[in-house]
Amino acid sequence: MQDIMAILPLLATCAGAILIMLVAAFETFRREGISILGIGLFAFAFFVQLTVENSSPIMPYSAIFNGMLVTSTFTKAAGLIILACGFFSAIAAQTYFTQNRWFVLEYYCMMLFAACGMILMTMAAELITVFVALEIMSLAIYTLIGCDRRSVIRSEAVLKYLMLGAFAGAFFVMGSVFIYAGAGSTRFVDIARAVSEGGFIANPALVGGSLLIMVALLFKAAAFPFHAWVVDVYDGAPMPVTGFMATAVKTAVFCVFANVLLINTELRDGWVGYLFWISVLTMFVGNLIAIGQNNLKRMLAASGIVHSGYLIIGLVAIGSDTVSNGAVIFYLAAYAASTLGIFVALSYLGGEDEKRIRFDDFNGLARVRPYSAACITIFLLSMAGIPPTAGFMGKFYIIAGAFKHGFVALGVLGIISSILSVWYYLRLIISMYFREPQEEFGVSEMTLAPLGTFALAAAVFAISFIPVVI
């Protein structure tokens, strides 16, 4: 019974997805009804997750289901972020569908299934459970990207993501085989015991297996050697789906990453040296890609790579002793609020068929729609890390943690990278405020997305008040 209570948010999300699937079969429910139902179900699952109590909040593996899943304050916070991302992406999708005059009923059902996979992923404490959750999430996301079947670009984006994602998934499974061979089990507790008894470097199967698993996770997290797909896939996906991928998927992947690194200190220390360089290269390569972009969506995708770099700093520097990984989860929340905010704003400002997508297309937005422009400015400043916002606090906690644990070089490089990133964020602010408007930025109907944008702008400030221990 305790076990069932702990996974209640997962069950609520899954039941919601099935409910929408069944309801979609009836003729009487059309676009508006299904959209409101989808948004409502995300809100419901959010409150279920909020009310779930964790009996033992700090233990690293307070296991349920016989050690297959774990719940802690970390997984609870991650679940809240994922469901909030789903809620705001659903609001963005409702507006996007109204503006683009196409709709598939299964869209919200797929979003809920993706959220279900993500929540399972944050809780998983066994390698094949991680794999199954990863695939539940990925298959739903592939479908979401390709749900506009008329468009050739969307189909190509699905192909690219599907092939590379399945390739990375195969690496993950092979890594699990190696770890199963080395440790005799795929459960995290047993792996931890095997490592502490037999050593990590002395066991080639464990080293090889964890390498393959790192490759798969770095691929999903869009870190340096495996970042090339991100820009193309984000560019090809519909706007609300891009926002959902950039925030919720990243949260789920980094939770698994943190959980895997928490297995054992020796295993973690074996990889920290490599993760150091990966995080540095991820930040600087991401910045170089972002500076060269003319398309707003591609710029945001590249800035997502840079933020993965900061999160890896968090994983490298903090971790073994701070079990709840507060700084990482705080950064994920701050990043999710600001990135999703921009995508929600773009899904109603983008116009029909995403015709406004380049920097120049937003010239003079502040004259025509001052409130939307102000919100976008808040989001961009938060992503760049300018003081009163959540993005600044997130960067502060991560970099302060790096200094505190002796990774001074990493902290300094993180600061340099965040100064570099101001350049491309300011470019959009300059075109919005200091150029003459060329068009009206007409929005066809008043819908929910502007409200969602204002709520997220408020959240950017509200999140910065959450206290974090580093």
């Binding site: 190509e156 390739f167 195969a170």
Partner: protein, 98 residues
Amino acid sequence: MINNYLALSIVLFCLGILGVVSRRNVFVVFMAIELMLNAANLGFVAVSRLHVNMDGHVLALMVMAVAAAEAALALAVIILLHKHKGNLDTNIFSLLKG
């Protein structure tokens, strides 16, 4: 004896990687990915014998179920692409070259 099965599993996995990297037809690339997953399944069953417990068999079944779901989606995507382009060569899918 079991070492041979593990070696075969690794060889199949490497053949799969080679197929993904070198082939230009979407269909063949997808088959290579399936080969990689099945190599892992063989590895699971072999290691299961090595450790004399049944976990590996169950894990192999799980992976098979996921692979089937993935195959269903991938075949649908392949049909969709064939409708759009009439060809399955990866070189013609070039709208998203950054």
